[in-house]
């Protein structure tokens, strides 16, 4: 361990983990409500980033149709995400009700490819980096911290903003889920579809709602990421870091998703503080190694519920 790097890496890890947590939250939401593990979440996220980018004026090269500031562009993108979420639920996943797990996994994978194709058809394959961001990527907060490199921990403002937004979104989401009637209905549905249907809940509508919310969460995540790196087809790959986070936390736990996300951020960052070069260079696979270990020790994840199997 290279101790002088550790404070900074912990800070970076937590901040990066915030976004991973937000992305994980969207996947967990879909899983909790409809037992679907959404492999297309990363692509929804990319779509959200592109839509925002487009409404915000795109490349600013004179071909833009709209040229809105970030917030209105974001609001329109949210509306688009809701519609897309509803469409996906209605036309791709509702017909899959009762199909085996594998078919549903493949459906979301097919959906992912389809979205990728459509985005590259409409927005092009070149990364579109001109993305409105309130801060320059080099704007930072400097927090004095003895023992850190140079005596300071440095927090990129964009990262702090996205971490804050991710946490706010998570809290808003938790409040919604725990304290509103719709949230209660969603929780009930997540426990038992049949039972929810029998007590008069409109289960398809709740599934649709979950997808709409997941679409919104994805869009928020997409925008936060695009602020850091611009909109590109590569954005969807971030979900590959979120997957281990989700399983670490436990597939059916919101708190788990957040803790898992931050854990993965930390793991990736702390690995890079190692003094062994090969360990440092394993940042890409470190979350998966941790995941394998957790799966063997505690298969239901850190916060997941252990299910009683009945026969």
């Amino acid at each position: 361990m290279n101790w002088v790097l550790v404070p900074q890496q912990i800070a970076t890890g937590i901040l990066n983990g915030g976004i991973i947590a937000l992305i994980s939250l969207g996947v967990v939401l879909i899983f909790k409500s409809s037992e679907i593990f959404n492999f297309a979440h990363g692509h929804l996220l990319m779509l959200g980033a592109y839509v925002t980018w487009w409404f915000a004026g795109g490349n600013q090269d004179g071909t833009e149709v709209f040229n809105l500031p970030l917030i209105p562009a974001f609001l329109i993108a949210v509306l688009v995400a809701i519609v897309v979420g509803l469409l996906i639920e209605r036309f791709a996943l509702r017909p899959m009700t009762g199909q085996p797990l594998l078919s549903i996994v493949l459906m979301t994978l097919g959906l992912a490819l389809f979205i990728e194709g459509v985005v590259s058809l409409v927005f092009g394959v070149q990364p579109s980096a001109v993305f409105p961001s309130p801060f320059s990527p080099s704007a930072v907060f400097r927090v004095p911290f003895p023992g850190a490199m140079g005596g300071f921990i440095i927090l990129k403002k964009t990262l702090v903003l996205s971490f804050g937004a991710a946490m706010l979104a998570s809290i808003a989401f938790a409040l919604f889920f725990n304290f509103t009637k719709t949230g209660l209905a969603m929780r009930a549905t997540s426990e038992d579809h049949e039972l929810a249907r029998s007590v008069g809940l409109n289960v398809p509508r709740i599934f649709g709602l979950s997808w709409a919310i997941a679409g919104v969460i994805a869009t928020v995540g997409g925008i936060l990421l695009a602020m850091l790196t611009g909109a590109s087809l590569n954005l969807s790959t971030v979900v590959l870091v979120a997957f281990p986070a989700i399983l670490l936390g436990g597939l059916d736990s919101f708190l788990g998703a957040i803790v898992g996300g931050i854990t993965v951020g930390l793991v990736q960052a702390l690995v890079q503080a190692s003094s062994n070069i090969e360990v440092r260079n394993s940042a890409e696979i470190a979350p998966y190694v941790v995941l394998l270990i957790v799966l063997v020790i505690r298969p239901e994840g850190l916060f997941g519920q252990k299910r009683i199997e009945r026969i």
């Binding site: 790097l5 900074q8 970076t12 590259s120 980096a129 611009g230 590569n234 954005l235 790959t237 070069i277």
Partner: protein, 512 residues
Amino acid sequence: MKKAISMLVLMSLLLGMVSASFAQQNDVTCESEVVVQVNDWLSKIADKFYGDPLAFPAIAAATNAKAAADDSFATIENVNIIEPGWKLCVPGAADAQTLLDSSAAGVLTQSADISCDSSNVGKKIVLYQQAGITGPLAAITGPGLINGTQDAIKAINDAGGICGATVEVVFNDTAYVAEQELAVYEVSRNSDPRPFVILTYGSGATVVLKDRVNEDKIVNIASGLNGPAVYNPPNGYTILTAPIYSDQFSGFIKWAKDNWASIKPEGAGDEIVVGVIGWDNAFGTGATTDEALAYAESIGVTVLPLEVVALSPTADPTGPIQNLVAQGANVIYNQSLAFTPATVIATTRALGLWDQVVMGGVNWSMDNSMLGSLGENAALAEGYYGVFPYLYWDDTDQPAVRAAQAAFDAGGYPPADHGVGYLLSYASVDAIRQAAIHAINRDGFDNLSGETFLSAMEDLGIVSAGGLFEFNVKDGNRAPSRTQIRQVQLNDAGVPTFVAVTDWFDLPDTRP
């Protein structure tokens, strides 16, 4: 589509010829005369007068034309070098356009000594090109590589083909999937007559085809990234047009060593410690080969072990950067492209380490894609060094570059494709033309084969013993082993431009 483009090319050529003759008849008139001030450069002046920095060749051409008759005007030999006090001729906007067109429509080649001994009108020469216009890599490299080749071939045909023979190109999409590269190659190699040259892109193709092209004796002009495929076995039929990353890296550290006194960060010692940040693939690890490391040791430069950054826009390089600095690195070299060098630049700035290191990278890392990834914060890259390939768009003293620029404009491609790829492809097709002519002259049209073609390339010095493409351009050999270090500097408008800080120089040879 092909028809439309060729019509466009044809029309622009016609226009160019008409206007060129017009320009010769009526002497150039200067709308204004400008005396060069300190800190001026041609593109800046062009930007001032025409609002287009790329219009500077018009000023150079007009000035040179004036200079022929009037000594008070300077003669511009190298557009990159103008001296304070020189008098320049700035033609009117219309004249400038005419001049630009005429220079663009100039002959494709610069080597006038290559002429045909025979005419083969009615015959045809088929080139086989395979690349991914679809697939994952297409998104990063862009279609520039392919369009460059195809436009160059069209230009050759429009100029009468190769010794009268029409050049045809058979293009096959491979999506950069190795299996597909192989399948397409099998078809090409079984064509009648057997192809003498194929054009491929990406290390997948280079690797998969390297033994096969040797067996089949077909020259593979590869923009591949894979050194070992070229050097093993040596003198093979794979000819690499892309710069060699280990050479570029060695050249960069050599330049840093030689110029350390002037470029070194404040407070840095005399000891040069280089850290490399790269992707975890053949490209990303291509700089720090054993040979390059041995070279670094021989010139007394310490190179730290490669720090890997994931090929993902969300990868955070804070750890690698701090690790390198903690180990004493005062030079950081990026072996990656687009978003990764962009985040490394931004993060280094954010960490407040920008002034403590000399930051640079391989040619692709200092390209429009990198500035594009920084978006409106492109100015952050100010001071970043890049090892440049042997040609760049502002080498407008090269007719091939002007021709490429004209073809690019005529093609109506998006600005994002205005990269090195298009240019290199365009230029390499021209070199193929030269070698083909030589082979036809020497051995006869019917004996044009991979073998005769390769030996013709060797005769002309277009290929080096190690399998490197060596372009013969006007001011000498600028093969992939030649380079120029450039730096991102902000022009007066605050727009980052790639400014040469060295002359062309030879890269160290770090081939295995």
